[in-house]
Symmetry: C2
Subunit: 224 residues, 2 copies
DNA sequence: AAAAGCAAGAATATCGATATTCCCTTGCCT
DNA sequence: AGGCAAGGGAATATCGATATTCTTGCTTTT
């Protein structure tokens, strides 16, 4: 008899833990994920560990090479560009549908997520962004699309946003201008969404994503 | 010592087998996937079976309810509508990028896939579509986007096309008008793509998808 | 000296068994 | 008679061990 979980499966907990470790930089891109080591670290057997890793692979946060094991996914400028393109297209679609279909509860969810975002400390004392802020930022953008009524779209958007968290983590400290401008855009986005100004909101979201990608491209510490 | 595979992992083979069985209708939507039964059927242990099933869940061909096991995914009109919307948007994007970036090898790939499609028997003697034709049709549409240079987009398109295979399988026998019209559109699509008529090709692809979805909606044997 | 072959070690992939959870039946209480 | 609770059976979830594969460095051969 062991102290067993009553709420979430072990696989789910390990998946969450691994994803958090990748997105926070504890596990660096490209580094191998040794099964025995990870199994000890997370106190689970290799079966559940492999199941969690398999899900990470499908979400493009890890890579599996047959008979050579799992590694944390690599990043690249090309992938970042693709990520931005898909985010513009799909986050825009989700936002538009949400503005058409969303009710008052959705508006409240958006306002709530934005409130958290605005009142979460953005930077550590050393200037790097806090995990909490990155998470709150992703959650706000998630909320914008949550009333779109399209489960597939929402699922895929979530994986895209997770990938974007990885790039933000790697790019490090944003300069003050960039940070303040992004915050102002987020606020305007919240206002436009809840007042159903569809075209303006989509246009602003496009610019918002474009600006983020451009900044990340300039600050990514990778060559290719 | 057992006769071991030298080419693909067991998980990959089981995944391919399960997907084929779902898409060909051997495993019906909503039916439970008993682990022990499936493990015996595919001659593998539960670990590799669970890993294959986990991938199927991520690709939306199966569903996992904690402590209640895996089931084949359910279909619905709402999901089909969403599928069509995403296919129009993303297959259109992939096609456009391929027409911009594709070289002669891509054109050859498209022509080749279309040749196979055109010369594969479309219907069984009982009037139902053959698995080979459904597969060839999906492969042709896959080829159209293959030069887009966007791995994420291509991966996701593949999962969307797999889901569409499931709906086609369930809808059963197309009438002769529908079948011939679709074939004519596929041929025109091939011509427009290889002659780089971008706008016409996208417009036609949109209509092609829309027509398919409309027909599937009329012929799906589901209520909701 | 260079290249091919071999062997030892390490890591992954797979397996079969055990522990846990859930469902359904049976019996008891009101 | 109806409802609730405990128990048996079946299915899932998890584990630890075994088999397989890959890497690496050494030996052997030309």
């Amino acid at each position: 008899m062991t102290a067993t979980t009553r709420t979430a499966s072990r696989t789910q907990m390990v998946y969450d833990g691994l994803r958090a470790d990748i997105l926070s930089g504890v596990l660096r891109p490209g580094s191998p994920l040794r099964l025995q080591v990870a199994a000890d670290r997370y106190q689970v057997s290799m079966s559940v560990l492999r199941e969690a890793l398999t899900r990470l692979v499908e979400h493009r946060l890890a890579v599996l090479t047959p008979n050579r094991g799992f590694r944390v996914v690599e990043v690249s400028r090309a992938d970042l560009l693709e990520l931005g393109e898909l985010l513009q297209l799909l986050a825009g679609l989700a936002l538009e549908k949400s503005m058409r279909l969303g009710d008052l509860r959705w508006e409240a969810r958006v306002v709530s997520a934005h409130h958290v975002l605005e009142h979460t400390a953005q930077l550590h004392q050393d200037g790097s962004p806090t995990d909490e802020w990155v998470r709150a930022h992703a959650d706000f953008h998630n909320a914008l699309g949550e009333a779109c009524g399209s489960p597939r779209l929402l699922d895929y958007l979530r994986t895209l946003l997770h990938s974007s968290e990885l790039y933000q983590q790697l790019a490090g400290t944003p300069d003050v201008d960039m940070a303040e401008h992004a915050l102002a855009e987020d606020r305007e986005l919240m206002v436009l969404a809840t007042t159903r100004k569809t075209d303006e909101a989509r246009a602003l979201l496009d610019r918002h994503v474009q600006r983020s990608v451009d900044w990340l491209l300039d600050n990514l510490p990778v060559e290719d």
